[in-house]
Subunit: 515 residues, 2 copies
């Protein structure tokens, strides 16, 4: 039984007579109350006249559209009959990319799916640059308009592919990091990146789409997943909702990898989280040949240890366009295992042979020759990209070990490790272990949960229990600030080798010493 964020409720009110002359809106509320557990819905002033007119025009019988909010039901529209689909949009509001689905809120069925680059990219690839831009002149308004514009384009694309009008979208759930939520709401992000790193709001109350000039139904409720802090956003709360970590009896870990690496460890009793900059290497679309997991992205790579032949698999099985996060990790792990890179992550020309070429930006390893690629340009991995990945993987492992140490949990005690993020969708945990990015544990412990930010937003649309749970979770998580942690910096340095300076931590990984 779904308990969606917006409902269409069949109503047949008795028509007014001289003996029953209550007002139109009061009549509708009275007819609705028994279907809302006796609650009288509120009608916001800006919807009052529209609802009354449509109720009367429909002959006092039809379907009421009710937003289900924590403070009580809010009546926002009236239709002559129950709509064939009641559409909600779930949005993963990423720094680099937006990804969204349209759901039918009465059945939970997916009606459409689409993604799109975040239009704020032109103001800066990373969040810090954008926060600084927001502080200048109309910067914040520009960034706000850019993200609203992107969301509107995405809504348009989704509606077209679902054969719907954009105004049929009657609810929007938004899962994003704290900064993106500030830009989305047009509220000042100034203090997010300045000690002591304070958001203007962690848990904004829902608003209506019209207030944000979103090009969906103006009375659509906009529900934002709450943040825990500046560096721990609603996208992570989504991760908890989607993985169910917070409901486990045994201690588990959730790792969400993007430009920031965010980690939660805990169980149904307690939750401790931290976040740290992992660098852009793992975020598709930032590395030179990197791309988002989508058609043409290489997502898996194998290298024959004898012949050196490279076998790869692209999403959609078409010609290769680039490498997504999981393809990048596979490739580098295989390069290490075939000794074409050393433990510092540097190319070994004597082993890599003719696939290694000298480009303008230094050495590049040709993964796919131009003649075999989608656009005629070779798919390459540069030393520059490799160096960035080494920093990212080192940061990732340093974050995991710092958190585990501070919490007093050994990796071996973890019941399960959920791996989330675009990074995690098709990742091979084994290859991440080879690189020393994830701890050397039995592979069955790892459970990829895909884009859990989007999945959490979908749950918000469909289940009242998920909405309540998200608000409780935001108050329950203890957040550790890693950016100011000395221990983290020491662990980071120790992690900048494959798999690690302390080889005993990775007994299953071949170690090629002394090269």
């Amino acid at each position: 039984m779904l308990t969606p964020l917006v409902r269409a409720i069949a109503v047949a009110a008795p028509p007014p007579t001289i003996g029953d002359n209550t007002g139109d809106i009061d009549r509708l509320k009275k007819a609705l109350a028994p279907k809302l557990n006796g609650s009288m819905p509120l009608v916001p002033y800006q919807r009052l006249s529209k609802v009354a007119k449509r109720f009367r025009a429909a002959g006092f019988t039809g379907a009421a559209i009710v937003n289900e909010l924590a403070g009580g039901p809010v009546l926002v529209d009236f239709l002559p009959q129950l709509p064939p689909v009641l559409v909600g949009m779930a949005l993963d509001l990423g720094t680099t990319h937006l990804e969204a689905t349209l759901l039918d809120l009465t059945t939970g069925a997916t009606l459409a799916r689409a993604d799109r680059e975040n239009g704020q990219i032109r103001y800066g690839a990373d969040i810090l640059t954008r926060i600084h831009y927001a502080g200048k002149g109309d910067g914040l308004a520009e960034l706000h308009q850019a993200i609203i514009g992107s969301v509107n384009e995405l809504a348009g694309e989704l509606a077209r592919s679902g054969g719907l009008a954009q105004t049929e979208i009657r609810a929007l759930s938004v899962s994003g990091n704290t900064s993106m939520v500030h830009f989305f709401l047009n509220i000042n992000p100034h203090h997010l990146c300045r000690e002591p790193y304070i958001p203007m709001v962690n848990a904004p109350d829902p608003c209506l789409a019209g207030e944000l000039k979103l090009a969906i139904h103006p009375a659509a409720v906009v529900w934002l997943l709450p943040s825990v802090g500046s560096y721990f956003g609603g996208d992570l709360i989504s991760g908890l909702l989607a993985s169910g970590l917070d409901q486990q009896a045994e201690t588990c870990m959730l790792i969400d990898v993007g430009t920031n690496a965010e980690v939660i460890v805990g169980n149904r009793e307690w939750l401790i989280a931290c976040a740290g900059a992992a660098g852009p290497a793992l975020e598709g679309g930032v590395a030179r040949m990197g791309m988002r997991a989508g058609p043409g992205a290489i997502e898996h790579v194998q290298i024959d240890p004898v012949s050196g032949d490279i076998r790869y698999q692209t999403i959609g099985n078409g010609k290769a366009k680039g490498l997504c996060g999981s393809g990048l990790i596979d490739l580098v792990a295989e390069l290490y295992l075939t000794r074409q890179i050393d433990i510092r992550g540097k190319f070994r020309p004597q082993a890599a042979g003719e696939r290694l070429i000298e480009g303008k930006e230094g050495r590049q390893f040709v993964v796919v020759a131009g003649k075999d690629s989608a656009d005629g340009r070779p798919v390459v991995l540069g030393q520059v990209d490799l160096d960035a990945l080494m920093r990212s993987k080192a940061a990732m492992y340093a974050i995991l070990t710092t958190l585990a140490n501070q919490v007093g949990v050994a990796f071996a005690d973890l019941h399960r490790i959920y791996v989330a993020g675009a990074f995690g969708r098709h990742i091979s945990p084994r290859q991440a272990v080879v690189l020393g990015m994830l701890p050397d544990l039995p592979l069955a412990i790892y459970e990829p949960v895909g884009n859990s930010s989007l999945r959490g937003a979908q749950l918000i649309l469909l289940e009242s229990q998920a909405r309540e749970r998200s608000l409780q979770l935001a108050g329950k998580i203890t957040y550790i600030e890693l950016n100011v942690n000395q221990e983290f910096m020491l662990r980071f340095s120790g992690s900048r080798f494959i798999p690690h300076t302390d080889h005993a931590l990775f007994p299953s990984v071949p170690f090629f010493a002394g090269e």
Copy 2:
């Protein structure tokens, strides 16, 4: 202990630190909740950024401004310290006049009082004309702007006389008839005057002043007293609040006289109401020499039965400008008792003597000669005005008797009769009995309650119990439609004499038969 509609609550939140990095708004909500019985206040999107900025600028210590709504507290502003006064405006939104007070919501003290003509008068003196006008082109918008303009001017006048800025007004309660509330809210009044007489809404949910472009604080809560039906408005609910009829053990009656006569009979167990057109004669400012009860209005009249000398009293004791409702009733009753008018309400020239002159519009009785009046023009009572009063008083009595008969209550069983309206402020019940407008009962039964519409609006500002009571009352009142009642028409015809065709109904009034 007052429980006002808006509160200023002192808050001292701990400043953010690296170990306590919750968001600004979340911090403020958390600090407020213990002072709101544990409720977490909502923050509307349009106030989010402003509240957060002011909270931070004030050093996380100061006063939160919270609107107390039925659905829960709503946080709308933050000040560096508790304001010296927290100002609310109570408004009687009359068809002809607006009357309002500013109250200090922390003490209940009255800060200012003012009244003003309803700016919609230029579109028609009576409501029906305005409802028809609203149906043409931009008529509704014009009428809406006219009333909002008048309210804004009144707010300005009140603020000036209270030495305040208009934006210091942080709450507005509105008590008006159903049509005026529709115009105020800019919602279509079309069906109000068409059978079966259905309002678009009886009990609108509160909104913010900014939504109505009111020139008070944009986040001021606007709270409208609920209506029962098209002809029974929130002004009558105010009458119940102010009189306390609904809390009496014994059966009482409330009579509110204006252009419409509205009557409620009942006690704490049941309430039955009706309304009927009484005509404009009793509404100050409509009759030719009539005026609102204000400085210069004749409010009491005596005629010496021997000399025929007229003694009168004006409000403020200055020179006479015209007659308010109570003065008019006094005058006509005295004219009857001194036999200068007959039982049909026609002047008797042989008795009225030289005070009776022939004007362009027929006979006129000179109450005050031009040389003694405020503006040099005589204060007169024309036969035309007298005829209108006769119709009004007949309608009034017909309404009272029809209701009493339908309810099965004899006038003699009434414990108390509250007389409200501008009509009732200074009325002499005895003279109204002489005219046959009110039933012939011991005078101690009558209790004038003055402008109970305004008093009810004041209670709404100050007491949560009054707000709850008003909403319960609106659902508890049984309304009888008199305009379609045959019995009423018969009783109306019988009442068009002084005091009545059936003299036995008025044993205390001299009856001059056969003239």
